[in-house]
């Protein structure tokens, strides 16, 4: 039996190692490359770990942002840090608004008994079936006409409409797990519906709210199509747009491109790893409790 379980573990760890390399290997190589000299990247066999650790490309991003054209760094490096800030502003706003607006909409879906409840829920979810590409055309056309193009607030609203259906679904299934008795007690004590939501439901639903907020942040952070189509000046570029400008430009050094890629995934990866429990339960709740 002992022999058997040792063999079992050996096989498992062999596949676990393959999985580990496949999961984080490509990204770690990107990180390692960003700390090397351009010419070292041509080494064969590949230089797996940077030696020495070269920070030039990271410095370029900061100097470019501070000094502008004087710094002499590539155009994309100069505008990168600003775009990083834009992504933060957009994704942060989307996360906060999505949770507030989403909880309000999720409460009646979870708790109230009204006509059209299923129609409302189905309508909200079905809105995600329309491909973003078909919406992009009228949205760009209208946004340009009413002067909403090239503004961060427009991207906040568009991202909101993409994440809200998911956030509402997630929260209404979470709210349903909160015992009705607690809410009834609050009602007997004279709380209004809104007070019940704010004082009883929301504090108890904190794990659900956290996973909804993180998921909304990550989706908005990674959004590319609308950020590309609706930004006209560098002042409103998001980090995904600048990364795409980097990646499709053949004249920029590889290390600069790679470094932009690494920096732009730090927030999502850090959030994902810190809040991994919330995220995994959030990702699964939609399908499990559905």
């Amino acid at each position: 039996m002992h022999q058997h379980s040792r063999l079992r573990l050996t096989i498992i760890y062999f596949f676990a190692a393959v999985l580990l390399i496949g999961t984080v290997g490509p990204f770690l190589w990107l990180v390692s490359s960003s700390f090397q000299y351009e010419r070292q990247l041509l080494n064969r066999p590949p230089q797996w770990l940077p030696n020495p650790i070269v920070l030039n490309s990271y410095r370029e991003i900061f100097e470019g942002a501070v000094l502008g054209e004087e710094s002499g760094v590539p155009y994309q490096s100069r505008i990168f840090l600003g775009s990083f800030g834009n992504s933060f502003a957009i994704a942060g706003s989307v996360a906060v608004i999505a949770v507030v607006v989403g909880s309000l909409a999720a409460y009646p879906l979870a708790r109230l008994n009204f006509r059209g409840r299923n129609v409302l829920l189905f309508g909200i979810l079905a809105s995600r079936l329309i491909p973003a590409l078909s919406l992009a055309i009228p949205i760009v056309l209208v946004a340009k006409q009413i002067g909403m193009s090239d503004r961060l607030i427009t991207l906040v609203f568009i991202n909101l409409s993409f994440v809200l259906p998911y956030v509402i679904w997630l929260l209404q299934s979470y709210f349903k797990t909160i015992p009705m008795e607690l809410e009834d007690a609050g009602r007997i004590d004279g709380c209004s519906r809104l007070q019940v939501v704010i004082r009883i439901i929301l504090p108890l639903a904190r794990p659900g709210l956290t996973s909804a907020a993180i998921l909304a942040f990550l989706v908005a952070w990674g959004e590319f199509l609308f950020a590309l189509l609706l930004s006209e000046t560098p002042a409103s570029y998001t980090s995904t747009v600048v990364v795409s400008l980097f990646a499709t430009d053949v004249d920029v050094s590889f290390v600069s491109i790679i470094t932009a890629g690494v920096v732009s995934v730090i927030p999502p990866i850090v959030f994902a790893l810190i809040f991994q429990r919330y995220i995994i339960s959030g990702l699964l709740s939609g399908s499990l409790k559905g």
Binding site: I12, F15, A16, T23, V24, F27, W29, L42, R44, V101, L104, A105, P108, L109, L112, N113, F114, R115, G116, L120, I124, S127, L129, L133, S134, L135, I137, P138, V140, L160, S161, L164, R193, L218, G222, F224, L225, L228, L229, T240, V243, S244, A247, T248, I257, I258, G261, V265, P268, I269, F271, A272, L273, Q276, I279, I280, L283, L284, S287, L288
Partner: protein, 301 residues
């Protein structure tokens, strides 16, 4: 009578509450999804090219019939399906294998599961950049490894020719989509009671038989969900195409998403772009329904 009256009043007030509470969300969704969708339908029925202003006019279904009789639609459609079928196959097979591994109990399993979130959290544009780097014809890590292993004698530009460009596009795309599919399948696996396997072992069923006769049938509904979702996503692919191949080489990766983009935002033909986007939407919905009916009936049997 009294109580019935109270009940009606209560229901009225609950309906009003629901309306007030959900109003902000509904308004946001309506303004950014429903209204644009209506405009998109409108545009698709018009001759509407920004390069020729003042000539906008209603032309009925002409945009649609033009596309349906044009190889510029059928060719990208074929490419889209080649890509989507490849991606769904790769994602489902690998996630199933990974989920089976992570369903085993072993020290370190939790860490491995958490690290799955690394590719998942990477935005598709950065993912495209990452693979562009790994596959670079002069600097690429994969070229170096293949060369050192003696698989190739000179560096290859795998993104420069068919069929390798399609294969690597599918792999690069799948890499960030496998984690979520894995977690979903893993949650499906964990609902299968362990004693079913135990009694199967007692009956002498081998590993492969247990997989075929217990795991697969019990996982079927979760597998259906994963297949439907991944199919919908893959048919709409755009971001990775934009960065990695721009539809090339020579239209080899020109999927419908890319055609919509070039038609609308490069040729500025909003009528033609809207109508082909509608066709893609209809195809996606049709596939989702088809798969749902087909897979769901399988579950019932």
């Amino acid at each position: 009578m009294q109580s019935e009256h109270a009940a009606t009043r209560k229901e009225m007030s609950q309906g009003a509450l629901a309306l007030i509470f959900s109003a902000p969300a509904v308004l946001i969704i309506a303004a950014t999804i429903l209204v644009p969708f209506g405009i998109a339908v409108f545009l698709s029925l018009h001759n509407w090219n920004l390069k020729r202003p003042g000539r906008e006019r209603f032309i009925g279904l002409e945009n649609y019939t033009d596309w349906l009789t044009d190889s510029d639609f059928w060719q990208p459609l074929q490419t889209t399906f080649t890509f989507a079928i490849g991606a769904v196959l790769v994602i489902v097979i690998i996630s199933l294998l990974v989920a089976l591994l992570l369903n085993e109990k072993f020290p370190g399993r939790g860490i491995l599961r958490a690290l799955l979130l690394v590719p998942w959290a990477i935005p598709s544009v950065v993912n495209a950049l990452l693979w562009k780097w790994l596959l670079n014809p002069q600097y690429g890590l994969f070229n170096a490894i293949w060369y050192d292993l003696g698989i190739i004698t000179e560096y290859q530009n795998v993104l420069g020719s068919m069929p390798s460009v399609m294969i690597w596009l599918v792999i690069a795309y799948s890499w960030i989509h496998i984690p979520l599919a894995t977690l979903l399948l893993l949650s499906g696996l964990q609902t299968i009671p362990g004693d079913i396997y135990e009694s199967a072992i007692v009956d002498g069923a081998g590993l492969f038989q247990r997989f075929l006769y217990i795991t697969l049938p019990m996982l079927r509904s979760m597998l259906s969900i994963v297949i439907i979702f991944e199919m919908i996503f893959a048919l709409k692919v755009f971001d990775i195409i934009f960065v990695l191949t721009a539809g090339g080489p020579a239209d080899a990766t020109n999927v419908l998403g890319w055609t919509i983009y070039t038609e609308t935002f490069r040729k500025l033909d909003f009528g033609a772009g809207s109508s082909i986007a509608m066709l893609l939407g209809a195809i996606t919905l049709g596939m989702a329904i088809l798969f749902y009916v087909f897979l769901d009936r399988g579950v019932e049997q």
